[in-house]
Amino acid sequence: MPKMTMIEALRDGMDEALANDDKVIVFGEDVGYFGGVFRCTAGLQEKYGEARVFDTPINESAIVGLGVGMAAQGMRPCVEMQFADYVFPAYDQITQEAARLRHRSNQDFTCPMVIRMPTGGGIYGGQTHSQSPEALFTHVAGLKVVMPSNPRDAKGLLLASIADPDPVIFLEPKRLYNGPFDGHHDRPVTPWKTHELGEVEEGYHTVPLGKASVFREGAAVTILAYGTMVFVAEAAAKETGIDAEIIDLRTLWPLDIETIEASVKKTGRCVVIHEATQTSGFGAELSTLVQERCFYYLEAPIARVAGWDTPYPHAQEWTYFPGPDRVSAALKLTMEA
């Protein structure tokens, strides 16, 4: 299997989708001629033409609003928000229009659309290039929310999302674009080509939505993670020597509750981690579901490790980022409890 970065895998996925189904169109700010500020769509306009891959004005609400109209009329738009931090002008179109169109019209109209967005920090982007808005979408009925943690899943999940009959929020952990990042920002970056998950299936191949993957098996404690935090969890497990089972959610909603429940009932302990600010983050829903369903199996309180309840700072981003040390501390506490 070819080795790819996550950027290449996403590009390959869109390439497959464009080749497979002429209803698929790709657009967004700078995604056309130039191929996106992260180059995820580089070369696609040249290959498929301007009618399939094009630049838009800087208006996220228009990008999604046009997408809703196109999707309802049978196209399959796969649009890009240049950064997740800039999705909010489109928040009304996504949550009040795309999310409810099928329901409110009694399936008279539907909205098969994918909204891609580079997510999370760790690139010194400051408060407007670092946010993780997943919880602002998991609260909204009618949306699916996906976040891959590696190139292989990225391609498969993206193709599954484009094929999905409903709107999908596709969050791309930009800190993982070029390599698995474990939170040790002071160490050299390992590129994806040195990692097995950098091996990506060729051709059209999907990873089903709604299925988590057990990233690392373990018996002592369950770590629920997604995106960038998966590798941070791995680092913490290794460094503490705690036999943690790491579940990579892959799809945040609808959630793969069986896999989670089975794991926590096995380990009796659970740590929930994410990069987004803690309060009302998706971790709260995870912690609550685990508590509701595994209460009598729990040997320790469910711990949360998340970003602080502050804007994402620029110079102090490693103070903000919930790195291996904070996760390790939570793991130890949970084991000792």
Binding site: G65, M70, H103, R104, K144, D166
Partner: protein, 410 residues
């Protein structure tokens, strides 16, 4: 001490004052030509400032647009009259039903019937409207089955949407009527997206966006205008300027611009202003605009100049913010009466036939109403599908909704 003073746009009259439209300049009928389908924004300054009218103050059809209207054939007159009469009969009966507590909510089209009725008749199969709650006249002219129309308003077993949506938020794909959301402005840009899909798939269909004067203030008005200007899809963007947004005078949304059509021109989109209470002008301009869009000349904006004759909705009482009988004082009159008078003058219609038609229409609606009410009303409700709450959130019901449906007991 600063010389800067803020301004707050004021309506011509408020409660207690006499309605007054004397300062409103209303160009005479027949002044404007029928422009080429390929007219540009630069070329249509007069159309964005002026007003396309066919029927003059004496009820005569005059000028180039009258000629153009003739080419649409004579039967548009009776069709238009019947469409508008039916729309008004529905308003009458459904307002009544809501007052009786049989339905939860209603919005009247009253006074604006010509716009939706006249526009819809110029569309072809496959064309799609993105309407607002006040453009139900589009459905009437699309000959949407009355039981379905009323069923949605009664939110009962006859409701194609199974009670999910507020009355007047219809959805009828096969009748060219996109699902109404209730959020203002959002669907104007969706119409542009739909039209882009039409062009991309080359299906020869067009889309029509609809927005009220008040909602032109919403940000997605900009999203729609700019997208239409940049990509040039086959879309007709309709602004229904009925002078009011609930209690708010249209000047608050228009600002210091003289017309909404001029705002569209600023985006490089040609725009026309039309007497929306003149069925012949509506039919003629709609025919022209639809032809232009379909011919591939890109987007076109139409400002329909009209007056909201009724309250905003059944939740609203306009006596609290506008002059009594302002509707009666509207200089461009009532679309139904104006068309009727014209047809009588042409010897195509009589008072008797008109009275008879109105009676028939009321009858027609009342009969349908009886049938639909057998499905339940707010005061005498019948059990509704409660599964409908959970169905259609996604194409396939995920585990959490299956579980919630069980918890709910069905």
């Amino acid at each position: 001490m600063s010389s800067a003073k803020l301004t707050y746009p004021q309506p011509p009259a408020r409660p207690g004052e006499t309605p007054d439209f004397s300062l409103m300049d209303i160009p005479a009928a027949g002044l404007l030509d029928v422009p080429s389908l390929s007219i540009t924004a630069d070329e249509c300054a007069d159309y964005a400032k002026g007003l396309i009218r066919v029927l003059d103050d004496e009820g005569r059809a005059i000028g180039p647009w009258a000629e153009y209207a003739k080419t649409l054939g004579d039967d548009i007159l009776l069709t238009g009259l019947r469409d508008m009469a039916l729309m008004r009969a529905i308003d009458t009966r459904l307002l009544n039903a809501q007052r009786q507590g049989k339905t939860s909510f209603y919005v009247q089209c009253k006074g604006e019937e010509a716009i939706g009725c006249g526009f819809q008749r110029q569309l072809s199969d496959g064309d799609m409207n993105f309407p607002t709650y006040r453009q139900q006249s589009l459905l009437v002219a699309a000959e949407y089955p009355l039981w379905a129309f009323l069923g949605q308003l009664y939110s009962n077993a006859f409701d194609p949407l199974e009670g999910r949506q507020l009355p007047t938020m219809h959805s009828a794909r096969d009748y060219g009527f996109f699902s109404i959301s209730g959020n203002l402005g959002t669907q104007f840009v969706q119409a542009v997206g739909w039209a882009m899909a039409n062009a991309l798939t080359g299906n020869d269909q067009i889309a029509a966006g609809w927005i009220g004067d008040g909602a032109t203030a919403s940000n997605d008005f900009n999203a729609a205008m700019l997208s239409a200007s940049t990509y040039q899809p086959p879309v007709v963007l309709n602004i229904v300027n009925n002078q009011w947004a609930i209690s708010t005078f249209t000047g608050v949304a228009r600002g210091k611009a003289k017309t909404y059509a001029q705002r569209a021109r600023g985006y490089g989109i040609p725009a026309l202003r039309v007497d929306g209470n003149d069925y012949l002008a509506v039919a003629a301009v709609s025919h022209w605009a639809v032809a232009r869009a379909r011919a591939g000349h890109g987007p076109i904006v139409i400002e329909w100049f009209t007056y909201r004759a009724a309250g905003h909705s059944t939740s609203d009482d306009p006596s609290g913010y506008r002059a009594k009988d302002e509707a009666a004082a509207w200089p461009l009159g009532d679309p139904l009466l104006r068309l009727k008078d014209y047809m009588i003058a042409q010897g195509l219609w009589t008072e008797e036939r008109h009275t008879q038609m109105n009676a028939e229409m009321l009858d027609h609606v009342t009969t349908a109403q009886k049938t639909v009410e057998s499905g339940g009303t707010m005061i005498a409700p019948k059990p509704m599908s409660r599964v409908a709450v959970f169905e259609g959130v996604y194409a396939e019901m995920p585990w959490h909704l299956r579980q919630q449906r069980q918890d709910a007991g069905y």
